[in-house]
């Protein structure tokens, strides 16, 4: 009998504790609907939430008591794609999710994101309200699935003082791989006198992304219709060789172990920014968001930004941390208000002030507040450069609908590592990458019959493109799905666009920059 009492008591206590736990949930504690925003850990997010609540009141989205119609809460523990995947299919994902290009593609393929196209048009957060180049990153097959929280286009930050300290002048805004190598070697020699200890070495730049380097050769990971991987092109092998030469032969970029020696968990790129600030790196790849970190180092001298070094085709990659709406959200209409808020003046002006990359709407980059913030005169020459590249040479990310971006990244990096560590030649690594990814595309088509028809259509278009290329004739824009090729052919005069399409592009761009 005492055992039964004990058992029942323990059971009762567990039930009470469970109820207590449930009562402690935020949505039980408040009478207002609660929505969750899955985002990164950043002090600015608290401010953005507070601003959203104010914006709701100002725009009349209030309840009977005059309070904001919805309570937004942060979830900073679930940004990882694997967590988002599992939570989404289990029906417990956050209402609003910060996503990057690859994660959006995967979640969209799973059908867990809400199609926002019509609502975005009606509520003012459609692709027209952001940079034209970002459109491929926020839409799939012409349907919109997210809206930017900020926009990043990659450039190279230059620590001018670090170069001048060693008798070197900063590079020009547009420069080639050869210029990069020449200045890098000069910096290496000047900044690392004989006898410099390994842990005191200075590097010209932090590691450069291979795909971005590759694009400057005029090549993309995929062909025009995204039906095949094109990394078996000699230009990819040459890109790999250049990168390895810069890392291991010339030591102008750090090796993985050099990077690991100073890596810390303090914050995103925190230690890199610190090393850039002290002149251990003369150049640092990144977007305008790095100013958040640079502003912590008041001793940091003159700053400039230059384009990515190119091998014939100057370009940069534009991407976005954008917010998507979970298809299983219990309050989708209220969550859409947050996306509307992202396009508002209140939010954009906050991004401008915080220097958290570029504001979603380029219209807010025209004023003095953006170009010349009074508190930071050293930055004045940099802000405008980001907008200019975003509107001229920036190209959106490339994703094939026939293979998941996570698979592409993993496989490509595997073979790149094989070459970088001397386990494979550059040509073999390039060929193996293409073979492997094309095999994955074939597997994907085997497994997903619904992809076969569009694939066949795209392949037919590809044959047409190949024929036109062989004949030296311009390629119709409507045949091209890869945003890189679209931009490449347009800029090199090989694109044939109907006057209506060209006019629409220009008009859309003009709308975006004059929206407010």
């Amino acid at each position: 009998m005492p055992m039964k009492v004990l058992f029942t008591s323990v059971f009762g206590v567990l039930v009470l504790v469970s109820l207590g736990l449930r009562w402690s949930f935020p949505d039980v504690q408040t009478e207002r609907p609660v929505i969750y925003w899955v985002t990164d850990k950043n002090p600015a997010r608290e401010q953005q939430v507070a601003l959203f609540h104010e914006w709701l009141v100002e725009n009349g989205h209030v309840n009977d008591a005059g309070e904001p119609a919805v309570e937004l809460r942060l979830d900073v523990a679930n940004m990882d794609l694997t967590k988002q995947t599992i939570q989404s299919v289990s029906g417990v994902a956050g209402d609003l999710m910060d996503t990057y290009g690859p994660s959006m593609r995967q979640l969209q393929a799973m059908g867990v994101l809400t199609d926002l196209t019509e609502d975005a048009e009606a509520m003012g957060f459609s692709p027209d309200q952001t940079y034209a180049a970002i459109e491929p990153s926020i839409t799939v097959d012409g349907r919109q699935y997210r809206y930017p929280a900020n926009v990043g286009n990659s450039m190279l930050w230059v620590n001018v003082d670090a170069l001048r300290r060693h008798g070197l002048e900063p590079p020009p805004t547009r420069w080639t791989w050869e210029d990069f190598e020449r200045l890098g070697v000069a910096f290496r020699d000047a900044a690392n006198p004989p006898g410099t200890a390994p842990n005191e070495r200075r590097f010209f730049a932090l590691n450069l992304d291979s795909v971005r380097l590759l694009r400057t050769t005029g090549l993309s990971k995929f062909n025009e219709t995204l039906t095949a991987c094109t990394l078996d092109d000699p230009r990819y092998a040459e890109t790999l060789r250049a990168k390895r030469r810069w890392v291991y032969d010339l030591n102008i970029l750090p090796t993985p172990e050099d990077e690991a020696a100073f890596a810390s968990q303090q914050s995103f790129m925190g230690s890199d920014a610190q090393r850039f600030g002290t002149g251990d790196y003369a150049l640092l790849e990144g977007g305008r968001y790095l100013l958040i970190l640079f502003r912590r180092y008041p001793h940091l001298g003159d700053l400039r930004v230059v384009e990515f070094p190119h091998a014939g085709f100057p370009c940069t990659m534009i991407s976005s941390r954008a917010v998507a709406l979970y298809a299983g959200s219990r309050h989708p209409e209220l969550a859409k208000l947050f996306l509307q808020y992202l396009a508002s003046a209140a939010y954009n002006e906050q991004i401008v002030a915080d220097a958290d990359a570029l504001p979603p709407n380029p219209a807010y980059t025209r004023g003095e507040a953006f170009l010349r913030p009074p508190a930071y005169p050293k930055e004045w020459g940099t802000h405008g450069a980001f907008v200019e590249t975003a509107e001229t040479i920036a190209i959106g990310e490339t994703f094939s609908p026939y293979v998941l971006p996570t698979v592409v990244k993993r496989r490509r990096e595997f073979f790149e590592d094989q070459f970088m560590f001397g386990l494979m030649s550059a040509d073999d690594a390039a060929a193996a990458t293409a073979d492997d990814l094309n095999a994955r595309i074939a597997d994907e088509l085997d497994r997903k019959p619904e992809l076969r028809d569009p694939f066949e259509r795209d392949r037919a278009a590809q044959e047409q493109i190949d024929r036109l290329k062989a004949e030296g004739r311009p390629i119709p824009a409507e045949l091209i799905k890869n945003p890189f090729h679209l931009a490449y052919y347009r800029r090199t005069g090989q694109l044939s666009e109907s006057p209506a399409t060209a006019a629409a592009t220009v008009e859309r761009h003009a709308m975006a920059v004059t929206a407010p």
């Binding site: 055992m3 039964k4 058992f7 794609l81 694997t82 995947t85 599992i86 989404s88 299919v89 029906g91 995967q106 393929a109 799973m110 059908g111 867990v112 390994p198 842990n199 090796t255 993985p256 172990e257 050099d258 690991a260 020696a261 298809a327 299983g328 998941l404 996570t406 698979v407 993993r410 595997f414 590592d417 094989q418 970088m420 560590f421 386990l423 597997d443 497994r447 997903k448």
Partner: protein, 497 residues
Amino acid sequence: MSRRAARDRRRALLTGLAFLSPNILGVAVFTVFPVVFSLVMAFSNWDLTQHNPFKDTRPKFEGLGNFAELVRGWEFLRYFGNTLFFMMGIPVAVAGSLGAAILLSKDTRAGGGRPYVWLLASAGLIAGCVMLALAGTGQTAMVLLIAGAGCGILLLGVTGGLTFYRTLFYTPHFVAGVATFILWKKLYAQQTGPINVALQPVLDGVAGAAQAVGPFFTALAWLGVVLLLLLLAMGLRRLRQVYIDGELGWRAALLPVVLLLVPFGVAMMWGYASPYRAVLLVGGVAVVLYHATRLVRSADKFSAPSATEGFGSALMLALLTMVGQFVVLGLLVVAGNVPSMAGDGVLEAPSWLTDPAFAKPALMIMGFWAAIGSNNMLLYLAALTNVPGELYEAADIDGARPMQRFWNITWPQLAPTTFFIFVMSTIGGLQGGFEMARVMTEGGPAGATTTLSYFIYIEGFETGRLGFASAVSWALFVLVFSVTLFNWKFGNRYVND
């Protein structure tokens, strides 16, 4: 039986079931169901991008498709190879556990043991560290820290005795895994990690010596070649001996012989071992031919009761010899390459976690550390207390030396425990490697530390292919089951041999 008695019995049964139901329910829901469900998934095309509550399509049965893809692709075999590489450390880890258990069965406390030995050791350690610091190692703080910790451990051992040391050795087992991995990641840091900080002065010395006496290292490498051939000869000799004695059947001898030749096969394919290939090939063939000839000559002397007799003992001998051969092969390659590596007078400490050549050994070393102070050590400690004292007394009366006591009494008496530990370590080895790969290397560099368990995670949760990931899991299960069955069938014989 009266109705009342039957009612009482039914009530008792229901009460019992009520008590058991949470556990039964828990096992059914969280163990049995997932296992059965994953078996079904392994034969389906379940892909999260296609089949989830937000999509209309349902997973389809696709027979052995996932398993066929496993065999067709290169990833499964590659990562299985990585897993096997890590498992090669199991014999060393088991030997370490046994060594630790034997050490911890001695009393070190003042009065019970020989405190002056420990005090002397502490004094020696301090003196050594001070000399190193004075000699300008440049890492005085690190040296003093290590010296201080070492002395503290020795002195606490003198006062606290066995309890202190046993607790200390068991510490790795109750420290959280992720914390341990992060700690080791810091230890392995190429430029700032304590391991390389301690190693670099040694490498500087080696580099200097390699420049001054390069031929010495070449000679060392050739000595390694001789040692490798000797190990092969000793292994084959032992196998021949037990074969002649009738304790080993011919069929049971095949696999052990092949295992002894595996390191030679690896040396033939390994680029770094190319200068020694010819000698190893000729020497290896000569050794094998010699033993084959001797065997044929003594063909009339043996009579094994069955063709599979003695497989367990022979396999254990071959496995241990093979691990030893690999260690010698690795060392001889290092010795042979040191003069060219130190060509400019510099030998840089390894990039443990970012170089594919070192990443696997680095994780393996960490595994030894964890395995030595694990439950295996406790099992050995318990088993050691069960070895009858009379056996040692009898050995002492017969004048047995410590090594003889170990090989003829301790080791055979521990055989059942060793067998159990090997079985469990093999299972753990095949299933393991996920946490350390995830935390320390993310499976890299160049996939060098991706094990099967990490591969399952990637396919299941990054790619969303739950059907395929389940197939990998079940392939892993079949491997684990086969190896366990093999161990059980032949390992038991070893125990009984």
